[in-house]
Amino acid sequence: MSSATPGTPHLRGARVRCEELGFRHPGGDSSLSLASVDLEPGSRTAVIGPSGSGKTTLLHLIAGILSPDRGTVTLDDEVISGLPEAARRRRRLAGIGLVFQEFELLEHLSVRENISLPFAIDPALGSEGRSGRVEELAGRLGLGPLLRRHPRRLSHGERQRVAIARALVVGPRLLLADEPTGNLDPRTGAVVLDQLFAEAERAGTTVLVVTHDHSLLARFEQVIDLESPEPGGGS
């Protein structure tokens, strides 16, 4: 596992700490075993490793989608891995943004509706003027003229930007991206990643990105290599 210099601490971003994490998919061969990972607030971290090494599993464990077989995931000072599923879900909805390789947009919703989906799930999130962020984010990500369109009429790059906007619309303290450029050509991927970083930096959001693209690693402050025989998260 390699590491990079931690980024400048941000007040807005979440501090993430994973300790002695272990997880095996039920009935599956793939498993994850990790000594420790620390993500500083506002830092940018990449996760690399071969297929089946547990990159996506790590993201899901940190997001609280999965619960580890052993070890803990701590978000700031709260051990979220021990929380009931409903509590993990609430924390994820309000504080963790997720971006997927396949975009995972709802085809029957417009761009505006896709971006504001978290507000539909929990209307309380849309209070305090946060719903105004839809237009603001869409404008910054170049989606302003596309707000009424449906995903099927968007390019891959546009779709991924919609997914990023959806992940950031509630102002999360942690952004988890699973190969966000995996389905994009290198040039579009670079643009999308620039925009992702710019938005995260603007809000001071902590970023963890799973990637296969080693050419991008220089842009991260920390890299977690799950292929490394040495256990534990690098820093």
């Binding site: 899901h60 997001a63 909805l93 997720l98 709802l106 504001s116 507000f119 539909a120 209307p123």
Partner: protein, 393 residues
Amino acid sequence: MIGPVSLALRSITHHRVRTLLLVLCIALVAALPLAIQLLMLRHESTITTRATDTPLVVGAPGSRFDLLLHSLYFRTTPARTLSLADAERIGEERIEERPLATAIPLFLDDTARGHPLVGTTLDYFPFRGLQVSRGTLPQLLGDAVVGEEVAESLGVGVGDPLLTDSGRLYDIGSTYPLRLRIVGVLARSGGPDDRAVFTSLRTTWVVRGLGHGHESLDADSDPALLLGTGEGAVTASAAVRTWTEITDENRSSFHFHGEADAWPVSAIIVVPRDPRSGTILRARLSVDPLLESIEPREVLDETLSIVLRVKRFFDANTLLVGTATALLLILVFALDWKVRQRERETLLKIGASRGWILRVATIELLLILGAGAFVAVGSVILGVLALDRTFGI
């Protein structure tokens, strides 16, 4: 901001073809039994009300069902008739010098432009609660009053003529059709009276050929019609008239041959003064072998019980088809649920609860079911209205 209902609506409108097929499936399955049930209820109510309101009907011995259909719904003609004397005798039945009932004779054996021509007395109209919306009730020989639907369908009104139909086309001895004069139109009652033409008993007897008038052929007549004159005899062409008309000028010439007591009536509606009178009258009539008396409600219930048995078979068939379709719909929804699994997983990952996802799916299902039910009810109402207009059922 969108909520679960908007999300469900977006999904429904996005998958238009799927939604349309599902809605049509549901509508078809629901519409058929619904339409039958509605028609049954409507007509059961109309039919039974009329039967319940008719305490007793007397006719010549024969089919009770025929007598019921004839006297209440103006359908079928009994094989045998009674006489006016029978009606008068029933009307004169007394106990302690008090009449037991009012007898309303009916004679129905002909039609006027396809509508039943019902000869009766003026007592019939208040008994059925019928009132004229225009004109008056028939007063003179040759006068007729038509039901609202007859007036609508034939486009006739007060003052218009109405020709009876030639029932015996190949009977050269039969009488010419009678040209009736419409003096009134009945207000709509929602029953068979709307589709009938009413006139006096004597007018129907004229139609039947039991009474007639005489045309005068004299110097004022068309010379082409006069074939010859002899000693006290005038020979005229058969083209003199193709119909008979009772006018103010010739009314006095109309007369009937034979005994008035023997003139026919096809049914007699008997309205007892009170339940006790009804019981006494039923007992008296039951011992008369020349009369058949029926209580319409009783005969109708027998008929309906047969119809309801048939309906039960139909209901069973509908249940089977409905179950098969419901299973098919469940399969479609299950497949749709499976196809959209990834969509649900995304929502779960973002932070939606399973309950919230289920709520959206349920709303979507309910909206589709609701749309199907709406289409079914709408088409049934339109269908029933169309049936009403087309067939008058």
